[in-house]
Structure formats: C-alpha cells, structure tokens
C-alpha cells in the first residue's frame, strides 16, 4: 500500500488479488447479499485509491482496509435503509455438496443463527473467526484494547450459541 500511496497506482492490483476474497466474504456475512457485497468490495478498493494519502505505513494494512470496509458497509445501510431480512439460502459451494446431511444442517442452522445476531456481534465473529485477524488488529479496527476484544468475542459466541440452540430446539419440536 505504501507504493500506492507514493503514486504507483498499479500496485493496488497486488492488494486486490490478495484481499478481495476475504473482503467479499466479510461483506456477505454482514449483509447477506452477494451483489451488494461485490459492489462494496469495488467501493473499498476505489476508496483506497481516493484516500491513499490517509494510509499510515506504520499501521497494519488489514486494520486500515477493514476500517474503510466498515464505513462502506455503514454508508450502504444508510442508502438502502437496511435489508434486515437476510436471505437464509444455502450459499453455493462445492464442498457443501460432499458433506453428509447432518453437517449440512448444522452449517445451515449456524448461518441462520449468524444472520439473526446483532450486527456488532456478527462483525466481531467475522473478523476474529473467518478473517482470523489478531486481537490487536481487531482492536485497531474497532478502536479498543485487546482485553475488551476478548470479552466481546466471548459475548458474541455466547449470543450465537443461544440463538443456535433456540433454533435447533424449534427444528426438533
């Protein structure tokens, strides 16, 4: 990113290749909409170009990128007036087909539970579990310290667990 900042705009292509997929998955988890998520990934990379001077080389790139991503996601909610009803469809994926029925149900239930989790908790799980960011990176993105990140992630997992067990109870009865 430092090269981009110094005027080599083509260097953004390297960053795109490395980060667009995880970023796309972040957005899909946050808004449940593939088309919107693709728009937002595009938006984030364009913002990186536009605001390239605000990048500080001594900070982790991932933290900066997710900060831009959060703003883009927040702006899209303002524009679209919140698409709360997240689709509970199966995401197309080759591995899902190969897995046995029980596991497929488990995953689909988990996705449903994720979609019902409040946005801030869902975001913490996406950053800590799916994007595998370190606690200090998450702290930099959210603007808090490592201890608080740990506590919040614990609370998010617990809330997810509660929704998940309620849903599996509904299914059993």
């Amino acid at each position: 990113m430092q090269a981009v900042r110094e005027g080599d705009l083509g260097a953004l292509a390297v960053l795109f290749e490395r980060h667009h997929r995880p970023l796309f998955n972040y957005f899909v988890h946050m808004n449940g909409n593939r088309d919107l998520s693709e728009d937002l990934v595009q938006d984030v990379f364009m913002r990186m170009l536009k605001y390239r001077q605000s990048y500080q080389p001594d900070r982790a790139f991932a933290a900066w990128m997710y900060q831009i991503a959060r703003n883009a996601q927040a702006d899209s909610i303002g524009k679209r007036k919140l698409e709360i009803a997240m689709p509970e469809r199966e995401f197309a994926s080759a591995n899902v087909m190969e897995e046995n029925l029980k596991r497929r149900q488990e995953i689909s239930l988990l996705k449903k539970a994720m979609s019902r989790l409040p946005e801030d908790k869902r975001e913490l799980l996406v950053l800590s579990r799916f994007q595998n960011l370190k606690y200090d990176e998450i702290g930099a993105i959210l603007g808090c310290d490592v201890g608080a990140v740990k506590v919040r992630v614990y609370r998010a997992v617990k809330a997810l667990g509660q929704i998940y067990f309620e849903l599996s109870g509904e299914r059993a009865s």
Binding site: L9, G10, L12, A13, F16, H20, R21, F24, N25, V28, R34, S37, E38, V41, Q42, F45, M46, L49, F91, S93, N95, V96, E106, I107, L110, K111, L125, S128, R129, F130, G143, C144, D145, G147, A148, K150, V151, R152, V153, Y154, R155, V157, K158, L160, G161, Y164
Partner: protein, 256 residues
C-alpha cells in the same frame, strides 16, 4: 480465578492461546461444572464456525476492478492539467459557502411538515411497547427480563419510565446476562442526560468485569465527560480486575 475471570479467558482457550493463566484456568474448570459445560459447548460452536465454507465472488468482479483502476489512473493523469483551478482555495471556499446556504435553506423548507394522524398512531404504539417493556422487566424469570430489555429498544428515546427501569436493571438485576443486555439497550438513551449520568454511576456499583467493560464502551461511545470521575476512580482502583483497569485507563484517554 473465579467464574467471571475464567469467562474472559474462554476465547484464548478456544484458540489455544492460553499461556500464563493456563494452570489457573484448568483448575477453575476442574472445580466448576457450569463454566466447564459452557466452555465446552461454545468450543464446539467456535470449531464449527471455523469450518463454514467461504463464498466465491463472481468473475465479473475482477474485470470490473481492473476497468475502474484503468479509468482512475487515466483520470488522475488528465486531472493534473485540466482542473488545476478546482484546487484553488478561493474556488473551494466559494463552493463551501454555496453548499452550506443550500443546506440551511432546504432544512427550513422541510421542517414543520408533519401529518398528525401518523403521529397519533405512533403515540399509541409507543404506549403499548412501554407497557410490555415495563412489565417484562419486573418478571422473576431471567429470560422474560431479557425479553423486556429487547422491548426497551423499541420505545422512544425520551421515555423516562423505561429508562429508569433499565437503569435499575443495570444496577440491581441478579443475572449478569440481563445486566449486560440492559447496558447495551442503554445505548438508545445516551442522548438523554439522565441516561448518561445513570450509566456513569452504575459503573461504580458493578462487580462484574463483563458489565464494567460494556459500560466503559458506552461511555467512550458518547464521549461523556461527566463520567470522567467514575472512570478515573475505576482506573485507579487497586481491587479492580486488571483487564477492567486497563480498559478504564484506555477509556480515560479516549474521553479526555
């Protein structure tokens, strides 16, 4: 190590990153059935989360990116010559004044257009939500009280009855989860000085690190200077949980 302290270590336990406190943590789990059950149940959830399949974006996304990048570079190259006058401070100042004037004008124009029937209906709905929230918050059963807290999100932010019921939940509820949920719900009322003061005072009364951290987060969110003394007291408290103390010190830096 007590239950509260153990719960702050759960995530490290699931990630396998417990180091110094491993022995203490294991000892607590060995002696506490409830924490052991919760740690193991949620550990499975954590593991399953890690196996969720990733989505693949469409191929169109890549071509779109490269098209835009090309366009942007071409524009940047052209802009340097053609639009130098746009960067002139005098032009920028004039444009800012114009936009500000337009904004103020349209604000005045739009104000005062309210339809009375809609606001009457809204008033009736608010009353009903208030009733439900207040009665649920009084229940014996913790899950009913949690539902009461979630109803509190739906009342108007100037509803002082629901606000004081929530504050009393934050201060006195026996269940940590209910208290935590009530702190989260207070976010709706932080424009209200009573709400902000209430939270600042509640900070000193809490013994749960989870609730203390949640309250500190709220205070930082609102940049509430009137909470400074409560936060300072916590940051200097020798008996406070080390993570809470550290978080309070961080919060102080944010508000000051």
């Amino acid at each position: 190590m007590n239950c509260e302290q153990a719960r702050t270590q759960f995530v490290d336990y699931w990630r396998g990153t417990l180091d110094d406190s491993r022995a203490e943590f294991d000892a607590h789990l060995a002696g506490c059935e409830r924490c052991r059950a919760e740690a193991e149940d949620l550990k499975d959830m954590w593991a399953t989360l890690g196996t969720m399949p990733e989505e693949d974006p469409s191929l169109r996304m890549r071509s779109r990116f490269y098209d835009s990048l090309r366009e942007f570079r071409a524009r940047e190259a052209g802009k340097r010559h053609a639009f130098a006058w746009l960067r002139h401070p005098a032009f920028q100042a004039a444009a800012a004044v114009l936009i500000l004037a337009a904004g103020i004008g349209s604000g005045y124009f739009l104000r005062g257009r309210e339809i009375s029937e809609v606001s009457q209906l809204r008033g009736e709905m608010d009353n009903m939500r208030q009733l439900v929230a207040l009665s649920l918050l009084q229940q014996q059963n913790a899950s009913d009280r949690l539902r009461g807290v979630s109803y509190a999100y739906r009342v108007e932010p100037d509803d002082s009855q629901v606000l004081s019921a929530l504050l009393s939940t934050v201060n006195h509820d026996s269940n940590v989860d209910v208290r935590l949920a009530a702190v989260d719900a207070m976010r709706k009322f932080t424009d209200n000085p009573v709400g902000r003061n209430g939270l600042a005072q509640a900070l000193g009364k809490q013994d749960s690190p989870l609730v203390q951290i949640a309250i500190l987060d709220e205070i930082v969110e609102t940049r509430d200077k009137s909470a400074l003394s409560s936060v300072k007291a916590l940051a200097a408290n020798q008996d406070a949980n080390p993570e809470v103390k550290q978080h309070a010190q961080w919060a102080l830096r944010q508000i000051q």
